[in-house]
């Protein structure tokens, strides 16, 4: 892990933090990290502890688990309950609530739900169980869509007839645009999604500086990467410029990955519209299999309800995803909605803003309090003893 440790080196991290403090002096900036991987890294490493109070990080819609609307989970449950079918999914999706329980519950009820690490694992199951239908619950942005595409092509080449995918792949650019167009938007710049950009390249982000005048810096996922990208954004903002820059050049090429894009173009096409949890219907924001691959499309092969399900009233995932409110401002945060018993999807995935904040955020809050110069705050502890003081 030497390659990773280099970007966690305390000395360089401190230097970058000092530079951010200098650049932000006397100013207030709101920067959105679009990608859930960044949200997770920010909380995991305690990066917000290193930022001055004038720099606020807003967590964006880039957690693939979080943006799947409840109706799609209902559809997944319906497919999973098909007799003798093997339903495969990434582990995170098993805990996302549908309107009636989760895939974990479906599994306990007798559905054969298995978690896999890659669509190729699902394909192997299909190969090993020729008399059973195997469905893969495909979720994710452009990062994971190519591997789904490659799996579908391989299934076709092998002549498998019992394998299909339930396609929920989404594309990041329309979601960013929806946020930029939403009323009350107050963002100054964006930390661009590093993994998605390895596939799509830098070009698709050009409209953000061009049309909205906001800087975008595509960043890696280590502490020094994220801090450096903030430095680059603040420099642009202080200079009054706006451009797309690439902090993650060791991985991201300006033109992306043409081979992966070709795989996508061969197998998938844009849906006219797709519902995003909390953001509503966004046109041309998701992928489906092309008609010539309909044999591999679980939505074609199995009866799915396909109904739109309204999110639970109390759930404010949408406002969290748009960065309108912070996770802690949600009505049910940490009380009715916790990682063990989530109401909203943002509380499920470790990349979800609420789960990250719930798990990692509470301590940094106390530090922020300290920095704000406030006295230590009295918090009633577990046993209701009011004299336990958190500083």
């Amino acid at each position: 892990m030497r390659y990773v440790d280099e970007f966690r080196e305390p000395e360089s991290v401190r230097r970058l933090a000092t530079e951010i403090e200098r650049l932000a002096e006397g100013r207030r900036y709101k920067v959105m990290e679009v990608c859930g991987g960044h949200t997770h890294a920010i909380y995991k490493h305690g990066i917000q502890d290193l930022l001055p109070s004038g720099v606020e990080l807003v967590h964006g819609p880039g957690c693939p688990v979080c943006v799947i609307p409840m109706g799609r989970i209902d559809d997944a449950m319906a497919i999973a309950r098909t007799p003798s079918l093997i339903f495969t999914t990434f582990g995170d999706m098993m805990r996302v609530p549908s309107s009636n329980g989760t895939l974990i519950d479906a599994k306990a009820d007798g559905a054969d739900v298995r978690f896999v690490y890659s669509p190729l694992d699902a394909l192997k199951l299909a190969r090993d169980n020729p008399d059973r239908e195997v469905v893969f619950f495909a979720v994710g942005f452009e990062t994971t869509a190519p591997s789904t595409a490659a799996t579908v092509l391989r299934a076709r080449d092998e002549g498998l007839r019992n394998f299909s995918i339930f396609n929920n792949h989404v594309t990041i650019i329309p979601a960013i645009k929806a946020i930029l167009d939403s009323p009350g938007m107050q963002l100054d710049g964006f930390i661009g999604p590093g993994h998605v950009s390895t596939i799509i390249g830098l070009g698709p982000f050009d409209f953000i500086p061009a049309r909205y005048g906001k800087p975008v810096v595509v960043a890696g996922f280590e502490p020094a990467d994220i801090l450096q990208s903030i430095v680059m954004i603040l420099r642009q903002l202080n200079d009054g410029s706006a451009a797309v820059e690439n902090q993650y050049a060791r991985v991201v090429r300006a033109g992306g990955n043409p081979k992966a894009l070709e795989l996508l173009a061969t197998t998938m096409e844009l849906r006219p519209y797709f519902e995003w949890r909390g953001l509503g219907f966004i046109s041309q924001s998701a992928l489906r299999l092309r008609p010539e691959f309909s044999n591999f499309d679980a939505e074609v092969r199995f009866a799915v309800p396909g109904l739109r399900v309204t999110d639970p009233k109390a759930c404010q995932c949408g406002e969290v995803l748009k960065g309108v409110i912070k996770p802690w401002q949600c009505r049910v945060f940490g009380t009715a909605c916790t990682p063990e018993v989530p109401i909203g999807s943002c509380m499920v995935s470790p990349e979800g803003a609420c789960a990250a904040y719930y798990n990692y955020g509470r301590y940094s809050l106390m530090r922020e309090q300290e920095r704000a110069g406030g006295a230590s705050v009295v918090m009633p502890g577990a046993g209701g003893t009011p004299d336990e003081v958190l500083v």
Binding site: Q48, K107, Q329, T335, P350, S364, A372, P380
Partner: protein, 366 residues
């Protein structure tokens, strides 16, 4: 700072304190069915235990947190430690161990961290129709070897066979009894602010070895399970530092879950320093790839110990002098702040809450 920021911080603290109260309130079992999460050693397991199992049994000897039950004997002053565990690990054989060795070591370790000298074991087998005899023989030989090497004989056993499909090849239940040392008093309730937290070596080896041994994950690695009997190491520590506050065997749910149990039980905060954690680079790498926290991964041959600050160096050198503790390290300290919570100080100078495991990233690890 502006009044607005202070206001928002106060509001935020208020919300977080409500969340914290909800978090630490008594576990509620909402599920109508048992799911794999209930067996993962994390929060769902705890809910099942606190909301269903303990209240149903109403036993004065059960506290739900200790690794072994303490049974008073009618004769004299000595007391007995009594523990049981079932092993359902898949695959049966993995680098560094197998289900038999694991059963022996896991049972001995529960006694060892309770401050007991293990005396005898029981082994009960549930076999699936069709299991090949060679597999069974290999497991039994392994049980024999592990028990003999540890000097803790198997005193009784049982064998049942169930029809094909009603079990997965074989499950093992093992119980153990041990004699409690009279010179120590181990309990999370003894933990005091200022105490020092030690771990006896590399973290995360067992869980990762089992996980990588599963065919679904085609990662090449040399990672082997740390499965080992810890009674010798535990006894050495207790001889050197009889005032040791508490010891834990961080299996399911990993170091994070064990420390949370202590913090909650003792009503103290625990702060762990990321840069001091003994984690092999391979484990770090595999965790990065799989998106798992090494502190949530099961260990089967590691001891967590909390000792008074004045005994910390002696505890460390005692652990390091033992063959099973050569990579031992001081990893953190106990505080009055943030009671019931474990905080990880990150290598880059940030901090975050280190919670118990939620859900189950790795079912059937032991």
């Amino acid at each position: 700072m502006t009044a607005r920021l202070e206001h928002s911080l106060a509001a935020q603290m208020e919300r977080m304190s409500r969340a914290s109260t909800a978090r630490s309130s008594r576990a509620v079992l909402r599920d109508s069915h048992i799911t794999l999460s209930h067996g993962a050693g994390g929060k769902a397991s705890q809910a099942l235990l606190e909301a269903l199992i303990l209240p149903s049994l109403c036993s004065p000897l059960l506290d739900g947190v200790a690794d072994a039950g303490i049974v008073p004997l009618s004769s004299g002053t000595s007391r007995m430690a009594f523990t049981t565990d079932s092993y359902v690990v898949s695959p049966l054989f993995f680098p560094g161990g197998d289900i038999g060795k694991l059963a022996v070591h896991g049972t001995i370790n529960d006694l060892a961290v309770s401050g007991a000298r293990p005396i005898a074991l029981s082994v009960a087998l549930i076999l699936e129709e069709g299991l090949d005899v060679d597999t069974l023989r290999r497991v039994m030989v392994s049980i024999g070897e592990a028990a003999n090497a540890a000097g803790v004989p198997v005193a009784t056993g049982d064998t049942k066979v169930v029809p094909r499909g009603k079990a997965d090849r074989m499950f093992v239940n093992a119980s153990g009894i041990g004699e409690l040392r009279g010179d120590v008093a181990l309990s999370p309730a003894n933990v005091r602010p200022g105490d020092v937290v030690l771990v006896s070596g590399w973290i995360g080896d067992h869980g990762m070895a089992v996980m990588l041994a599963r065919e679904a994950l085609e990662l090449e690695s040399e990672i082997a399970s740390d499965s080992a009997a810890l009674h010798g190491l535990a006894a050495a520590l207790l001889d050197a530092v009889p005032r040791t506050r508490v010891m834990k065997d961080p299996t399911r749910g990993g170091v994070a879950t064990s420390l949370n149990e202590v913090a909650r039980c003792a009503g103290v905060g625990i702060a762990i320093s990321e840069s001091r954690l003994p984690i092999r680079p391979e484990i770090h790498g595999a965790c990065e790839i799989l998106g798992i926290d090494p502190l949530h991964i099961a260990n089967e041959g590691k001891l967590l110990a909390i000792v008074p600050p004045e005994n910390a160096e002696r505890a460390l050198s005692t652990l390091r002098d033992h063959p099973l503790g050569s990579a031992a390290a001081i990893i953190g300290e106990v505080r009055t702040e943030h009671p019931g919570m474990v905080i990880l100080q990150t290598a880059i100078g940030g901090a975050r809450v280190l919670d118990m495991l939620v859900g189950d990233p790795l079912p059937r690890i032991c």
